[in-house]
Symmetry: C2
């Protein structure tokens, strides 16, 4: 008596749903999922589109990277609040041709992300579509009052970023210029584009220690996202070109310069954390956290504009040139 | 410094987000929303696709009905657990041509649903797409241990439905056969198709009084959804053709019979409630609840099959012929 949709749900559930996980009262298979919220904590709610053509290419991105990344990028928003992911809902629309092998690869990547990020499938919706459409909602939590918002930065705060910026964009470029499905072992930048790691441990640590006054994740590029953080905090920022951690290329003779500064300023999809810290607390921010570099790139200003300071004292206004679908 | 996406989010927020609503710590505009869960309650989590071409037609459905319905149908899953909706996340992908007047109409319908269903925008994601894509996640809650699942029906339980079945499908048919955008005042069936009312009060009352042993909402048609409830409860059902509440047509001469039984058995989108009640409690179920008819249509059986009993004692097996995207 099962419908085609019921069989698809069964396949997804077998790959992803784990019984007996903490907080689950009822998982996939009813009208809705039931979970038990944790005492003393507030819920963190976020959702993200992941659409063929806009966010990934059916013929270029391996299915397991699509599975990994659709969850990782939504979880990154929870990391940016200093929270812990708990559950996710998966909305999946597929062509019938993709309910076999492709779906198997996708679920493998998603199951790996589920375990790595400790964020478990609670439910979702499936339907048929000629393009692959994905929407992921993540429900996380954070100790009450401890979430780090975008709006808390004050003039004088120092601005930090984790990792190196522009790596994922560089990975996307090599993927686009290639002729086939890219293998995950191609290069560290391709790997960062395909399998981004949300900075959960760093976000939680900064929230716990009350070090960050404002925080967000870098998904659309530093120039666009920093302008959003500044708008939310009603401040501006001055950042120094030579302090921004850029892609490190191996030294080879005769290679043309790649515009690494542009990549670092405007490249999207890095899922690193951008955060502000009071000057008196800046000493408590280490130069690396669990192997991840933390760099001070500038400071928050009272003047509501973004200034980019060059190496020889030349200053220019920085416009938001990151990812914008419109 | 605002991007196109920022401006779209602002438009949505101005139409939908209400400050100071209960439980909101932080609404739209940060990496994620923050809400305070209510003590003694479990969370109800559900999401639904609402896609142009599959679930609505751009040229047939008025934009305000798309706004209303995308939230109403997701909230219906919370009603089916006996819960209360609290917040929703809106994922919206639009062609640039639809970010003006069409978006205004859509947001008007959605704002009306928000107030009516007391379910408030907490966040979401927006992007551009050549087709209109909508995904809605609803976060509700229910007193701990009081949710009504699909899996609690036992042999001998009586089967009830609310309202009349097949009305929304009949409305869809007149909409499809029309040449223009259908007006909401066309007919009660068109209205039910365009602006379904989730049965929240009934669902909560049945859960509170512990009357329903199993419950779900009728979204894909009685034959398909009853088979799902029976599968979850590991039982079967026998329902009587002449007890199923069908569309009531005004008497007009010479009208051809419309197959009202088929409509009632397989027509989707009614968002009525289907529930099972122990025989000893059946007397406590009124014939109507707040003006909404409640009809006993049959009983749960030990044999795991669906039987349709005709008016002259003829019985046949009922196959699931409701909505199935695959």
């Amino acid at each position: 008596m099962k419908t085609g949709e019921d069989r698809l749900v069964q396949k997804i559930t077998q790959a992803l749903a784990f019984k007996g996980r903490s907080g689950f009262v009822l998982g996939v298979g009813d009208d809705a999922a039931l979970v038990q919220p944790r005492l003393g904590r507030q819920l963190v709610l976020t959702c993200d589109w992941f659409l063929e053509g806009s966010h990934f290419l059916r013929d270029k991105h391996p299915p397991d990277s699509i599975g990994w990344k659709c969850l990782a990028r939504a979880v990154s928003d929870v990391a940016a609040m200093g929270g812990e992911p708990r559950y996710f809902l998966l909305s999946l629309a597929l062509p019938e041709t993709h309910t076999g092998k492709w779906l198997g690869g996708f679920l493998k990547g998603l199951a790996r992300a589920e375990r790595r990020l400790q964020c478990w499938l609670a439910g979702g919706d499936t339907t048929r579509n000629h393009k692959i459409l994905i929407n992921v909602t993540v429900i996380g939590d954070v100790p009450a009052g401890r979430a780090v918002l975008r709006s808390g930065a004050r003039p004088g705060d120092l601005i930090f970023v984790s990792g190196r910026l522009g790596e994922a964009e560089l990975g996307l470029r090599s993927l686009r210029s290639g002729r086939r499905v890219i293998q995950s072992n191609s290069s560290p930048w391709v790997k960062k584009h395909l399998y981004p790691e949300p900075r959960l441990a760093l976000g939680r640590w900064l929230a716990e220690k009350r070090l960050a006054t404002a925080m967000m994740d870098l998904s659309d590029g530093l120039s666009t996202d920093l302008s959003r953080l500044c708008a939310a905090s009603r401040v501006g920022a001055r950042i120094a070109i030579d302090k921004i951690p850029k892609v490190e290329l191996p030294k080879t003779k005769g290679r043309k310069p790649l515009g690494l500064t542009e990549l670092a300023l405007h490249g999207g999809d890095d899922y690193e954390l951008l955060f502000a810290v009071r000057p008196k607390h800046a000493g408590a921010v280490p130069s690396s956290f669990q192997g991840l570099a933390l760099s001070c790139i500038g400071e928050i200003t009272r003047e509501r504009e973004l200034i980019l300071a060059g190496p020889e004292g030349i200053e220019e206004k920085l416009a938001a040139h990151g990812w914008d679908p419109f």
